[in-house]
């Protein structure tokens, strides 16, 4: 092990919490819910010795509004929850998006709808990428597929949030949150950019900072809408992230994110052992969606199978990206059931027989 590297075996939830502290998080507000309660536990344990605030609020609604307030005051701030709790936060998320405040939000997805199950799921894709709250807004959505990325995307998430003055959502799932893997924490410089817009008390040398999500005159509201659109265009231009695995010579493509991408990676290896040239495209940003690369890959593969732990959600974005060039189908399990690589491989082979 190198001296300047800190290597640990951690749960995804713990790695996320540790990364938040190392990223210079000022405050965390949250309410416990399985399968991500380790975040608040870890932060509460570390708080006495390190410089940040972790507070258990009385509910998720309170948590997100505390995030709203702290972000408005210029703090580097975060909350995390799991599906039912994340639903409760949506009103606040819409307000934060409207007021253009940077913050990091995390949903460790469990099975639904309703209270559902505590097992892993990707059933919240629509809610994450199409706006869970009201109004025309976008979250920048990062989808980690390992414990390492649960840590890395905290650093990235805070940076992107500050850069665009936009809430960033990390969409994980119960398996990535609960499992342990090796995680490396590199020594890094933490850059916090100035936030002259924050409400930190007016001084004679500057204008008043106002943070609001209420624009009662339609003309003013539309101006804000247009400003947001411009920002979203910029994000779509600059921030698309994805990983390609063995796509160079691929006849067929799997498309999957998060835990499904880990399973699908194994499917690629199993199928290649059987002589089938399969590749994997893993969206890392779910919004902005890597539509461009999928459209290009559609020119060379015979078909795409979208693997998700849901009833078929990301497949809609894949179909839009591919625009009818090749056949796109979905395979998924729901309710917290995780398909084995062999299950997926069997369904993949059924799929390619239909091409």
């Amino acid at each position: 092990m190198e001296q300047n590297e800190d290597i640990r075996l951690m749960k995804g939830n713990e790695a996320m919490a540790e990364a938040a502290i190392q990223a210079g998080m000022d405050a965390y507000f949250g309410y416990p819910i399985t399968p991500q309660s380790e975040v608040l536990e870890y932060l509460t344990r570390e708080m006495p010795n390190r410089n940040f605030l972790a507070l258990q609020a009385e509910s998720e609604v309170a948590s997100i509004n505390m995030v709203y307030g702290a972000a408005g005051a210029g703090a580097r701030v975060m909350t995390s929850s799991s599906s039912p709790g994340w639903s409760l936060m949506q009103e606040g998320v819409s307000y934060i998006a409207s007021a253009q405040l940077p913050c990091l939000l995390v949903n460790v997805n469990r099975g639904g709808p309703g209270l559902g199950t505590i097992q892993p799921s990707q059933g919240d894709y629509f809610q994450a990428t199409k706006g869970g709250g009201h109004g025309d807004y976008r979250l920048l959505v990062l989808a980690p597929n390992s414990v390492q990325e649960m840590a890395d995307f905290v650093f990235l998430g805070f940076e992107l949030a500050d850069k665009y003055r936009n809430p960033v959502l990390m969409l994980s799932d119960g398996a990535i949150g609960q499992m342990m893997e090796k995680v490396v924490f590199h020594k890094r410089e933490i850059n916090k950019i100035p936030k002259p817009w924050a409400t930190t008390g007016k001084t004679p040398d500057r204008e008043r900072s106002i943070i609001t999500s209420l624009f009662i005159q339609p003309e003013k509201m539309e101006k804000v809408n247009l400003e947001l659109l411009k920002k979203y265009d910029e994000i779509e231009k600059n921030e698309v992230r994805y990983e390609e695995i063995m796509t160079d010579d691929a006849d067929y493509l799997l498309v999957a994110y998060g835990l499904s991408a880990r399973i699908s990676h194994k499917v690629v290896l199993l199928a290649r052992e059987r002589g089938l040239k399969v590749g994997l495209l893993r969206p890392i940003t779910l919004w902005p969606f890597p539509a461009g690369v999928l459209n290009k890959l559609a020119d060379k593969v015979k078909g795409m199978l979208v693997v998700e732990l849901n009833a078929g959600q990301m497949i809609e974005d894949v179909k839009l990206a591919v625009n009818g060039k090749v056949k796109v189908e979905h395979y998924g399990r729901m309710g917290g059931i995780i398909p084995s690589p062999e299950d997926v491989e069997e369904n993949f082979e059924k799929f390619i027989k239909t091409l």
């Binding site: 097992q119 499992m179 342990m180 893997e181 880990r262 084995s340 690589p341 299950d343």
Partner: protein, 182 residues
């Protein structure tokens, strides 16, 4: 190239999850890739627990697999659930004080380790899991016992470091039982 996919399963309280964690930690200390996926759902709350631990020289693709190179099984329900999921040529190491009906498969290696009895002889029933781990590592030396001890030093809070010697004894007792069983 090493890629060992292991299922460890038994009742809650038998040290199933901590055995996987110790193995994972030791593998990491020795520079390998590792993933540890616990059951955390209703089955765990109903009394049984399991974890999938994967140790590999290369990047680990899926942390969740349905077929295993090794099963370390600590109770009868686990034997029934997982015996058919061991790959041909794989092994089962099982706790033979608890499990009366072992797998009868001929295409895998099956090793009976009376770990609970042996732990009683060491005057600490809680080290039965380390006895099974020692037995497994004797059969498949994917990491060294020194590596495991190094891991235990990190995993155990300092106030329990007086228990390190008995864990070492347990690992060695397990290795000896495996030599007798083979």
């Amino acid at each position: 190239m090493l890629n060992e996919e292991i299922i460890i399963a038994g009742f809650g309280g038998q040290g199933v999850l901590s055995m996987g964690q110790t193995l994972g930690y030791a593998a990491m200390v020795e520079g390998k890739n590792v993933s540890w996926m616990p059951s955390y759902g209703p089955e765990m709350r109903g009394g049984t627990a399991n974890c999938i631990t994967i140790v590999s020289d290369s990047t680990i693709s899926s942390p969740i697999v349905s077929r295993f190179d090794t099963g370390i099984l600590l109770n009868q329900p686990s034997m029934e659930k997982f015996e058919s999921r061991i790959k041909p040529g794989g092994i089962i190491v099982y706790e033979s004080t608890n499990i009366l009906h072992a797998s009868e498969r001929k295409d895998i290696g099956i090793y009976a380790i009376p770990a609970a009895d042996a732990a009683n002889k060491l005057n600490n029933v809680k080290v039965a899991n380390m006895i099974l781990l020692g037995a497994f590592l004797e059969k498949k030396p994917i990491i060294s016992l020194d590596g495991v001890m190094e891991a235990l030093k990190k995993v155990l809070p300092e106030r329990y470091h007086n228990l390190l010697p008995i864990n070492r004894q347990a690992l060695e007792a397990g290795a000896e039982l495996m030599r007798q069983a083979s």
